[in-house]
Amino acid sequence: MDPIAKFIRDPVVIFAGDGRIIEMNRAARARFGDSGDSWRQLFADLDGLQNLLERASGSADPVLGALRLAGAPAAEAEAKVEALALRREGAIDYAIKLRDAAGDQFAALTAQVRELNGEISVRRRVQAELEESLAHNKVLYRELQHRTKNHLQMILALVSSAGRESDDPGRKQFVKMLQSKLAALFDAQRLMYAEDAGNGLRVDQMLSALAETVQTLAGVRIAIEVRAEPIVAPNDLAFPLALIANELLTNAVKYADGPAAAVSLSFVRLGDEAVLTVRDNGPGFTPSASGPSSSGLGLVRGLCRQIGGQFTVQSDDGAVAVVSFPLAEATHALS
């Protein structure tokens, strides 16, 4: 055997033109044994072997092919081989080398990579499913917002209608109070839908809209000045805040006094807290007062508890109501 073939780690077998095995290197003997001297000892497919050797005879270079090995299970893939025609003194012998016959030398690594690839495939599929589900849920959520807004608007219209149809002053006042609260919720909901704000909405825009609504519902011409920082608050904070601001503004408009009646609202961030201040130039506020108007302040206190806030009222050339509350992590200022 050519000494070079002895260096080759893959099995190399040399045949004569009639199929007799002339020589095998060490790897081939280890793989096939050395008891026989026919190609049948190695390969199962006569036609395939003849085709391969015929192709090899037409070239001076090794040709690639695949052959079924003797005794290999039917389900096993054919072995990859290279065949080379050896021209010697007018006759042709053939060398066949089994490629990668030693098997995968990095079997553990290959298995690990295969396993990782499988895991990546699963994760990608799950991610795709989640993304699709998220997109679907977004559509549903938006649809829900839309319906909520419409229902609120409808309830608001029904309440307004009930107020108009009644001659009872007490009932009219109750309807007006109810209308005001619903309008605050409607404003917040409308903004949320308009901005497609799934995670929160702009408090400054919400407060401006509320001020306009309160002004309209009050039916009196009172200037309401709004100065609010552009802060985005999560929905579970924005809705209580809308109701609080509505109560405070409604009270302020109600008690603002004289032809120069004025109400101001400010909303600022101070460190980790936000401070909502509503001020009017009315007669000031007596905390011990009770009656219909104090039920609104009760609502404010209840809502403050809900958002972890603090509510104080004092007199300073009019009533000054201050609500401070911690800003949640989801709350952020617009840069």
């Binding site: 199929g19 190609w39 006569l46 003849q50 005879s57 070239s59 270079d61």
Partner: protein
């Protein structure tokens, strides 16, 4: 909506050439140029065998002469828009040149595809004349402006990078 009016450079030939370019590129990337050339040689030899049989049948001859081999190789390349022509023909060699590849611009960076030419030329010449040694001196696939291919018809030792081809012999293994 019909998109017939869009100016997209796509028809069957373009699609198949793109497919071939990407396949050969993937092969070169995965197994390397040398191994890819080996695989494409298998295809080239099979194509060469089929074309050789077609031409011999059409010319009604058992074997092509050297002149016929030269004409057949030019003809088959021209039929597939290879624009090959004979630069020189002598007893021991036929020299071909071309300014355009059948694969067009898709061959750039795919030198493994040159094995199609080498094997088709080598198989047709080797099968009919007994021996052929194909040397691709210049190739568009390697960045040359044109192709230059020499088919030697007599054995020589160690000249350039050439591949040798012989008339095939089918061994009879049945009795062993």
């Amino acid at each position: 909506m019909s998109l017939d009016h869009l100016e997209i450079d796509l028809e069957r030939d373009m699609f198949l050439r793109t497919l071939l370019r990407e396949l050969s590129g993937a092969l070169q990337d995965v197994v390397g140029l040398e191994e890819a050339s080996g695989y494409i040689s298998v295809v080239g030899a099979a194509v060469g065998k089929a074309l050789d049989e077609k031409y011999r049948a059409a010319l009604a001859v058992d074997r092509l002469s050297a002149d016929q081999v030269a004409q057949v190789l030019v003809d088959l390349k021209q039929r597939i828009k290879g624009d090959f022509y004979i630069v020189e023909q002598r007893e021991d060699r036929i020299v071909f040149a071309s300014n355009s590849c059948p694969f067009g611009t898709f061959v750039a960076g795919r030198p493994a595809l040159c094995m199609m030419t080498s094997n088709v030329f080598g198989h047709v010449a080797g099968e009919n004349l007994g021996y052929a040694r194909v040397q691709i001196d210049k190739a568009i696939a390697r960045g040359d402006p044109g192709c230059h291919v020499t088919v030697y018809l007599t054995p020589r030792e160690g000249e350039g990078e050439a591949r040798e081809y012989f008339r095939r012999v089918r061994p009879d293994l049945a009795d062993c």
